[in-house]
């Protein structure tokens, strides 16, 4: 038995410690991992828990992220709880196996500390890795601060392992701004956390020698399509389980989560739609804009995949101008948020002015003043009832202004 870790009612943890503590409390059976900035401290903290007797399971320092995710797949198929952590290049190296994990319906938890993708090499936060995972068939949950990173990591196990879901889950936090910034966290005690998540429920375990099972088959044109469609169906339907788990968590802690995060959206004329730590800056910018008489709001996703299409449209139904902020180089089109939010609004017969800002790549600071500038541009568009600026701009880019459409 692992030793009980004495926790204070209020701890001061950075995002990495928060994630590591949640992994420890989840009593992970096999954690296979490989270090990469900025998620390395998750693995280091976990190793120290193990060295001090607070972890009962196995911790395997493998020789690459490809093997880390492969190890998680094998352990999960063997019928035990498996998890890992990574960022950026490590995430990219895992991609092949991310699809294998979801296709094999294995409820692995991956804590992702978001970081830019090379080239050029960059260790700082942006959302390139998170976006790279968006078609991989995983549930993707977004946190903005260490408390949420902790909460969502605990919930990730309960969501993914639910028998109606049985899909792997990523929990995202921003590199450095969340992962390395110590903030207040109210943790659960070990027993409470264990009780909340519940025992791992093995399905088709390879370790049951009386019931041999074949994992990871070949399907060609005769079955592949049905398999992938079922998988998509269950991912789309996972909203009900996610909601159930969010509700149970609220009953336990009082902390409330929803598919879509909204700040002062009830009467908002203009809104910034962003993910991650930028949400916290945008809230301050919105407050300051309201002092100037502009009805500004902030909207974000708690659940990036599956994408809460209807809730997004509902939250934005009375807004006159929306700026989607994408923190990933879009590679020849609009940012993913822009495309997805536009589609949701269009499908619901809404046609606000939609602007797309690419920002914060490679950790470029995004200040409150910059966000206020965005609100001002939105305000002009809202008043004019049409786009007064190019549809795609780059926020905080040095040199000549770059814009498209």
């Amino acid at each position: 038995m692992a030793k009980k870790y004495e926790l204070n009612e209020l701890e001061v943890w950075d995002g990495n410690m928060a994630a590591a503590q949640a992994l420890r409390q989840a009593d992970v059976d096999v954690l296979a991992a490989y270090p990469i900035t900025p998620s390395t401290p998750i693995v280091q903290n976990y190793s120290k828990f193990l060295a001090d007797g607070y972890v009962d399971g196995d911790f395997i320092m493998v020789e690459s992220e490809h093997s880390a995710m492969s190890g998680c797949v094998a352990a999960s198929a063997a019928g035990v709880r498996a998890a890992t952590a990574t960022s950026s290049q490590g995430f990219a190296l895992m991609v092949e196996v991310l699809y294998q994990a979801s296709g094999m319906r294995l409820p692995i938890v991956l804590t992702v500390v978001n970081r830019a993708l090379a080239a050029p090499l960059n260790v700082n936060g942006d959302h390139s890795d998170m976006y790279l995972g968006r078609d991989s068939g995983w549930i993707q949950l977004c946190s903005y601060n260490p408390q949420e990173a902790y909460d969502l990591t605990l919930m990730a196990f309960k969501i993914g392992e639910d028998l109606n879901v049985r899909l792997p889950v990523m929990v995202h936090q921003d590199g450095f701004i969340c992962s390395h910034t110590a903030q207040n966290v109210y943790p659960l005690q070990d027993e409470e956390a264990a009780k909340f998540i519940g025992e791992f429920k093995p399905v088709n375990t390879m370790l049951d020698v009386a019931n041999p099972v074949t994992h990871g088959v070949q399907t060609e044109e005769d079955w592949h399509f049905e398999h992938k469609a079922r998988q998509h169906n269950d991912l789309m339907n996972s909203f009900s389980t996610i909601k159930k788990v969010f509700d149970e968590f609220k009953d336990l802690t009082g902390r409330e989560y929803d598919f879509v995060y909204k700040y002062k959206m009830d009467d908002a004329d203009v809104a910034i739609f962003a993910l991650g730590t930028t949400v916290e800056s945008a809230r301050i910018a919105a407050d300051q804009m309201r002092e100037q008489g502009i009805k500004a709001g902030v909207i974000s996703l708690r659940v990036f995949r599956p994408f809460p299409f209807n809730e997004v449209a509902e939250a934005l139904k009375d807004v006159k101008a929306v700026a989607t902020l994408d923190r990933s180089a879009p590679g020849g089109t609009f940012g993913a948020l822009y495309n997805e939010v536009s589609a949701a609004l269009l499908a619901h017969g809404k046609n606000p002015v939609m602007l797309n800002y690419i920002y914060g790549l490679g950790g470029r600071d995004t200040t409150i003043d910059m966000l206020k500038e965005v609100y001002k541009e939105l305000d002009e568009c809202a008043k004019a009832g049409e786009a007064k600026y190019p549809l795609q701009q780059f926020l905080g880019l040095r040199g000549p202004k770059l814009a498209f459409y």
Partner: protein, 332 residues
């Protein structure tokens, strides 16, 4: 628990946990090797398989040829898959949470044997990193390389196991080429140098030798590597009914020497003693030419302008055979 095997008839009929009626070519050695490995024990077996002929021919939904728990993830990760299943097993055993049927087996002294099967492509090339990592970490599992010296599943491209002079689809013999330019990697020695407690080379045609080595491997604690000669009727281009004969030619010419390397070591991987044993010594060591002549993949070597490659072959085989004998004599 070591299984007692009396004769081939009994062996071939016992404990059928791998269905022979699968999609592999008639005369495929992969089939024979897998059956021999699984039949070497009556204990439960859990298998991981890399992408390749064995995998695509034995687990095509909704059918499976496997009556043991089996997993395939990808081409390059069979080693870490088996290693982590082994780790998961150890954790559950320690926590007392094994499924009841498995726990019962363990109580009877019949622990599950965890085996990875991969082709030479999945072993010598793309899976090498995962294999090396899993062996360094010392997990308790057996890794069997089904070495047909080519990427058979994808149509016969060269691998780093393809031997000199072989014509493959990416090292074809042609007007100005005799085919593959490099001799194959010494995988057995490479794996022994990882400090693995037991490493051996086998051929399915010498089934008793194979079974003995697999049984030895199952008794050892730690990672075990078995390099299995796997004559491939499709890519070596011999007739399906000649598989065993071609395999024997490989063994009797010492192109495919049968030997084992034992590293006596502790749980930290510190090696106190290393020993190499040759387990089969041909009565008449036949010329390499006879082995090459039996396989059309080497046919062009018999043209006058390519004959020197056959001489090179013979020299390479003699040198390796001498090296093995010297190591055996010296007890290192």
């Amino acid at each position: 628990m070591v299984k007692k095997i009396k004769n081939l008839k009994e062996f071939s009929l016992s404990n059928d946990r791998f269905e022979g009626a699968n999609l592999m070519c008639p005369g495929c050695s992969h089939n024979i090797i897998v059956r021999e490995v699984l039949n070497a024990t009556n204990d439960p077996v859990i298998v991981a398989t890399a992408t390749g002929c064995l995998e695509v021919c034995t687990a095509v939904y909704p059918k499976t040829s496997w009556d043991v728990s089996w997993i395939h993830i990808g081409f390059e990760n069979a080693a870490v898959a088996a290693a982590t299943v082994s780790a998961a097993y150890e954790v559950m055993k320690r926590k007392g949470k094994l499924p009841p049927a498995t726990q019962k087996m363990v109580d009877e002294g019949r622990e599950p044997k965890i085996v990875a099967f991969a082709g030479d492509g999945g072993t010598y090339d793309i899976g090498f990193q995962s294999l090396s990592g899993a062996f360094e970490r010392g997990h308790n599992f057996m890794y069997v390389c089904l070495d047909n010296e080519v990427y058979a599943n994808t149509g016969g491209q060269r691998s780093s196991s393809t031997p000199i002079g072989a014509s493959t689809t990416t090292s074809p013999a042609g007007k100005v080429s005799y085919g593959e330019k490099m001799m194959k990697k010494s995988m057995v020695e490479i794996m022994a140098d990882h400090g693995a407690p037991y490493v051996a080379q086998v051929s399915p045609s010498k089934w008793k030798d194979l079974v003995k080595k697999v049984q030895k491997g199952f008794e050892v604690n730690g990672p075990v590597y078995i390099n299995a000669q796997s004559a491939c009727t499709t890519e070596w281009k011999h007739a399906p009914e000649d598989t065993i004969e071609v395999s024997d030619l490989g063994v009797d010419s010492c192109v495919w020497p049968l030997y084992e390397i034992i590293n006596e070591r502790d749980e930290h991987g510190i090696i106190y003693n290393t020993k190499l044993n040759i387990t089969y010594r041909p009565k008449n060591k036949i010329p390499v030419e006879e082995y090459l002549a039996a396989q059309p993949r080497f046919r062009h070597l018999f043209k006058p302008e390519n004959r020197h490659i056959i001489d090179l072959w013979q020299k390479a085989v003699d040198t390796k055979w001498e090296y093995l004998q010297k190591r055996e004599e010296a007890g290192v």
